[in-house]
C-alpha cells in the first residue's frame, strides 16, 4: 500500500510532490490521486486496483473496514479519496462512510452490486459523494478525481463567502520565512483534522498547508459552539441558518454549518443507535443530542486519540477535552496554548491582544484555548465546562473557552496561572507584550483575554494556529493549522504538538498570521477558518486594518492563505501574536492576520488572500493554488493529494496566477498580480 509518498515531498513549486514521490507535476493531475479501496471481495478488489492503476492513480487496497480506518488514521493526509463497498462483513459500508466523513472528511465513493434505489439513497444521505454500481467500469473510475476537486472547491467557496473579516492586518504580515509558514500553515487545517497523534505535528504538518483546502476545521471550541447553538435552538429548529447566526463565527458559512450538522446528526444517530436518519433527523437528533452529550462526556476519556485524530469531532473532542481535562497538556511548555485566546482571533476589536508569538505555544499550547471569548450564549455553559476542564489542565491551558467572551474572562481569570504560563512561555517569544496584553484581554470580553490565552497560543501564532480571535467561535480559536494541538481539535488536548507545529518557522511577532498559520497549532480545529481565512485573509486583513500587524507584513505572512480558511486562522493567530507583541489593540486585527498568517506561510498565499477578499471567485481558486505552491513551503501541500495540485491545476487553467503575491492589497480587488 502506498501511503502518500508524495506528500512528503512538498515542494513549494508544485503540488506535485503531493502525490507521487515528487515527480508528478501538478499538470498531471489527476494522475497520482491517492485512492484507498475497501472491499471484502478479493476479485473485485484486484480488478479495481488494476483499473485505478491504469488511471494512473496511487492505489492502496484493503479488504477490511477496520484496516481502512486505521490506515486513514495513521496517515491523515495520505489519501485523497476512498472507495468502499457497501456490504462488508466486519463493518457496514455506510458506517465506514460516516466515520471517514467525521474523522477525516475525505470524499467517499460507495459501490455495490446492489442498485436498489433505497441503497443508493442511503449512500446519498450518509454523505457519499458518489455511488457506483458493480461491475465497475474503468470509465467510472477515471472521473473520481472530480469529487476531490469539488470538495476542495466547496470548501474554498465557503471560506470565501464567510470571510471577509478584516484580514487586512493579517495579510500584512508578510511571511518571510517559508519554513515557518510551512509548519504553521500546513498543519493547521489539515493537521487539525487529521491529527491524531499530536506529536508528529511537525512532519505531518507539511502537508497541511493551509492552502490546500479551505476546509473548515471544526475545532473543539467551534464544535462546542455549534453544539451549544443546536441545543439552544432545539433539535427541531436547528437549521443551519440559525445555528450560524447563533454561533456568529466570522468566516463560517451556512454550508459549513449545514454539512457539519449533517455529520453531527449522523454521529448522534450512531451514538444513540438510531439508524435512520433520513427520516427523522430531528427526532433522532433530539434524543441523540442528549445522548450525545452524555456520550460526549463519555467519550472524553475514550478516545482522545480518535478525536484528536479526527480533529474534527467536535463533540467528542469537546467531551474529550473536558474529560481529559485538557490535562493532556502537551507537555510542551506549559504554555497554555488554549489560553491563547483563540478568541482573540476573532475579536477584532481587541487589536491589542496581540498574541505573543507563541513559539512556545506549541509546546505548551497544546491545549488550545478554547476560549473564544466569543460571547455566545451557548458558550457560557460550555465555557464553564471548558473552563473547568481547562483548569484541570493546568499548565496546559487547554482552556477550552467556550465561545463566550465571558469565558474568556473566566478562562483567563480562572487560569491566571495558565496564562501566566503562557505568558511566560510566550513571553519568551513575545515577552513583553503578553503580560500586558494578558491582563487586558482577560477581562474584556474575551477578545483581549483571548489574546492572553493566546499568549500561550500566541506561540501558536507563531506557528501554531491559535485562535486568537476570541470571537465567536470556538472555531476560530484554533484556526488554522495548528490543528491538533489545539484543544479545539480535540486532540489538542495533549498535543501541543499542534501548537508546536504551528510555531511559525520564524518567529515573527508581527506576523501573527504567519505564525499562526504555521503554527497550525492555533486552531487546528478551525480548519474552515483557515481555509476561509485564507481566502478571506485578504478580506480580513483589510478589515483588520487596525491591527498593528504590518499590513504588508501580514500580507506576506499570510502565505497567501488563499484558502480563506487558512487565512482566517492565521490572521488570528498572527493577530494574536502580533497583538501581543504589538499591542493589544492589534489583537482585534490580529485576528485576521491570523488568517492571513496562513498566507504568510506561503507568500503565494498572501496574494491569494487579498485576492480572496472580495475577489472574484476565480481568485480563490487561484489563490489556493498559489497558496498551495507556497504551502509547499509550509507543508500544507502535501496534505492531500495535492491540493496544490488541484490548485495548480486550477490555477493553470486560470492562467497561472502568480503564486507569490505577498502583498495583500486589501482593497479587495487588488489582485493585479493575479492573472486571472
Amino acid at each position: 500500500m502506498n501511503l502518500n509518498n508524495g506528500r512528503g515531498s512538498m515542494s513549494t513549486a508544485s503540488s506535485s510532490g503531493a502525490w507521487k514521490s515528487g515527480d508528478v507535476v501538478p499538470d498531471q493531475f489527476p494522475a497520482g490521486l491517492r485512492v484507498l479501496v475497501v472491499d471484502d471481495d478479493p476479485t473485485c478488489l484486484m480488478i479495481l486496483e488494476k483499473m485505478l492503476r491504469t488511471c494512473l492513480y496511487e492505489v492502496t487496497k484493503c479488504n477490511r473496514a477496520e484496516i481502512a480506518l486505521s490506515l486513514l488514521r495513521e496517515n491523515k493526509n495520505g489519501y485523497d479519496v476512498v472507495i468502499s463497498d457497501v456490504h462488508m462483513p466486519d463493518m457496514d459500508g455506510f458506517k465506514l462512510l460516516e466515520q471517514i466523513g467525521l474523522e477525516m472528511d475525505l470524499p467517499v465513493i460507495m459501490m455495490s452490486a446492489d442498485d436498489g434505489k433505497s441503497v443508493v439513497m442511503k449512500g446519498v444521505t450518509h454523505g457519499a459523494c458518489d455511488y457506483l454500481i458493480k461491475p465497475v467500469r474503468i470509465e467510472a473510475l477515471k472521473n473520481i478525481w472530480q469529487h476531490v476537486v469539488r470538495k476542495k472547491k466547496n470548501e474554498w467557496k465557503d471560506v470565501e463567502q464567510s470571510g471577509s473579516v478584516d484580514e487586512g492586518d493579517r495579510q500584512q504580515k508578510p511571511c518571510e520565512e517559508p519554513d515557518y509558514s510551512s509548519s504553521a500553515n500546513e498543519g493547521t487545517w489539515k493537521n487539525s483534522k487529521k491529527r491524531k497523534d499530536e506529536d508528529d505535528d511537525a512532519e505531518d504538518r507539511d502537508d497541511t498547508s493551509t492552502l490546500k483546502k479551505p476546509r473548515v476545521v471544526w475545532s473543539v471550541e467551534l464544535h462546542q459552539q455549534f453544539v451549544g447553538a443546536v441545543n439552544q435552538l432545539g433539535i427541531d429548529k436547528a437549521v443551519p441558518k440559525k445555528i450560524l447566526e447563533l454561533m456568529n463565527v466570522p468566516g463560517l458559512t451556512r454550508e459549513n454549518v449545514a454539512s457539519h450538522l449533517q455529520k453531527y446528526r449522523l454521529y448522534l444517530r450512531r451514538l444513540s443507535g438510531v439508524s435512520q436518519h433520513q427520516s427523522n433527523l430531528n427526532n433522532s437528533f433530539i434524543s441523540s443530542q442528549d445522548a450525545s452529550f452524555g456520550a460526549m462526556s463519555s467519550l472524553n476519556g475514550i478516545d482522545l486519540q480518535t478525536l484528536a485524530a479526527t480533529g474534527q469531532l467536535p463533540a467528542q473532542s469537546l467531551a474529550t477535552l473536558q474529560a481529559a481535562g485538557l490535562g493532556r497538556s502537551t507537555a510542551k511548555s506549559g504554555i497554555p496554548m488554549p489560553l491563547v485566546d483563540q478568541r482573540n482571533l476573532f475579536s477584532f476589536e481587541n487589536p491589542k491582544l496581540r498574541f505573543a508569538e507563541g513559539q512556545q505555544h506549541h509546546s505548551s499550547g497544546k491545549p488550545m484555548n478554547l476560549l473564544h471569548g466569543i460571547p455566545t450564549t451557548m458558550e457560557a455553559k460550555q465555557l464553564a465546562n471548558l473552563h473547568q476542564s481547562a483548569q484541570s489542565l493546568g499548565p496546559v491551558n487547554m482552556q477550552v473557552n467556550a465561545h463566550g467572551v465571558q469565558n474568556n474572562s473566566l478562562y483567563m481569570i480562572g487560569q491566571p496561572q495558565s496564562r501566566g504560563q503562557i505568558l511566560n512561555e510566550s513571553s519568551g517569544t513575545h515577552v513583553p507584550r503578553l503580560p500586558s496584553s494578558i491582563g487586558q484581554p482577560m477581562v474584556s470580553n474575551g477578545i483581549p483575554s483571548g489574546v492572553i490565552g493566546r499568549n500561550g497560543i500566541s506561540d501558536v501564532g507563531r506557528g501554531t494556529g491559535y485562535n486568537p480571535v476570541p470571537q465567536n467561535s470556538s472555531m476560530l480559536n484554533f484556526p488554522l493549522n495548528n490543528t491538533p494541538e489545539l484543544p479545539g481539535n480535540s486532540y489538542t488536548l495533549g498535543s501541543t504538538q499542534g501548537m508546536s507545529s504551528l510555531t511559525p518557522k520564524g518567529s515573527f511577532p508581527d506576523e501573527v498570521n504567519s505564525e499562526i498559520k504555521r503554527s497550525g497549532g492555533f486552531v487546528p480545529s478551525y480548519d474552515i477558518f483557515n481555509e476561509l481565512h485564507q481566502h478571506k485573509s485578504n478580506d480580513w486583513n483589510l478589515q483588520n486594518v487596525g491591527l498593528t500587524f504590518d499590513a504588508s507584513h501580514h500580507a506576506n505572512s499570510i502565505h497567501g492563505s488563499l484558502d480563506s480558511s487558512g487565512l482566517v486562522h492565521q490572521g488570528f493567530s498572527s493577530n494574536q501574536r502580533s497583538a501581543q507583541s504589538r499591542n493589544p489593540s492589534n489583537v482585534g486585527k490580529a485576528m485576521f492576520p491570523m488568517g492571513a498568517a496562513s498566507t504568510d506561510h506561503g507568500h503565494a498565499q498572501n496574494s491569494g488572500q487579498h485576492l480572496s477578499n472580495g475577489l472574484i471567485v476565480d481568485n480563490p481558486v487561484r489563490i489556493k493554488s498559489e497558496r498551495h505552491s507556497d504551502a509547499s513551503q509550509n507543508n500544507f501541500f502535501h496534505d492531500q493529494y495535492g491540493q496544490e495540485d488541484l490548485m495548480s491545476a486550477l490555477l493553470k487553467q486560470q492562467g497561472g496566477v502568480g503564486p507569490s503575491e505577498n502583498e495583500f492589497d486589501f482593497d479587495g480587488y487588488s489582485l493585479d498580480n493575479i492573472p486571472v
Binding site: 471484502d40 471481495d41 478479493p42 476479485t43 473485485c44 484486484m46 480488478i47 488494476k50 483499473m51 491504469t54 463497498d85 456490504h87 462483513p89 455495490s112 452490486a113 446492489d114 458493480k134 461491475p135 465497475v136 467500469r137 474503468i138
Partner: protein, 154 residues
C-alpha cells in the same frame, strides 16, 4: 496446429462465449486491462474468482442444509457472488444470483435450493469454458504467438 490457426480458433471460441451470454462486456474490460506489465492479469483475476466462488458456493450449500436456515447470511453470500461474477463478466452466473436473492428475502427454501442448483450449473459451465480458453491461450503463447485483441462491441 500452427499459430495462426490457433489464434483463429481462439477468437471464434471467445466470440461464442459472448454470443451465448456466458460472458459480457465486463470480460472485455478485463482483457483491456491486461498489458505487458500484467500479461496474466485476466487469468489471475479469473482464478481468484474461481477460488472465491467455490468457497461461496460451499458456504451457501452448507447454510441451506442447516436445520435452521440463515437466509440473511445466504443472501449476503449471494450478493457477494453477484458482485464478483459481474466484475469478471460471468453474465449468466450474475443473472442467476438475482432470483436467488429474492428467494432469500422471501425465505423460500425451496426456491433457494433450486436457485443454488441453477447457479452451480452456470458457474461450472463458465468455469469450464474459461479454463478451455486459457489453455488455448497458453498454447498460442507457447507456439510463439500472441493473443489477439478482441474487438467485440457491446
Amino acid at each position: 496446429m500452427e499459430v495462426g490457426q490457433m489464434q483463429r480458433q481462439w477468437v471464434d471460441y471467445t466470440k461464442s462465449l459472448f454470443l451465448e451470454g456466458l460472458l459480457d462486456g465486463q470480460f472485455l474490460q478485463l482483457q483491456q486491462l491486461q498489458d505487458e506489465s500484467n500479461p496474466d492479469f485476466v487469468v489471475e483475476v479469473v482464478s481468484l474468482f474461481f477460488d472465491d466462488s467455490e468457497k461461496l458456493l460451499n458456504d451457501i450449500t452448507r447454510a441451506l442444509e442447516q436445520p435452521s436456515v440463515d437466509f440473511k447470511k445466504i443472501g449476503a453470500h449471494v450478493h457477494q457472488f453477484k458482485g464478483s461474477s459481474s466484475s469478471v463478466g460471468a453474465q449468466r452466473v450474475k443473472n442467476g444470483c438475482i432470483p436467488f436473492r429474492n428467494f432469500c428475502e422471501e425465505q423460500n427454501i425451496e426456491g433457494c435450493i433450486r436457485c443454488l442448483q441453477q447457479l452451480k450449473q452456470e458457474y461450472y459451465l463458465v468455469k469450464n469454458k474459461l479454463e478451455t480458453l486459457f489453455a488455448m491461450e497458453q498454447q498460442i503463447v507457447a507456439a510463439g504467438g500472441s493473443i489477439p485483441m478482441l474487438e467485440l462491441s457491446f
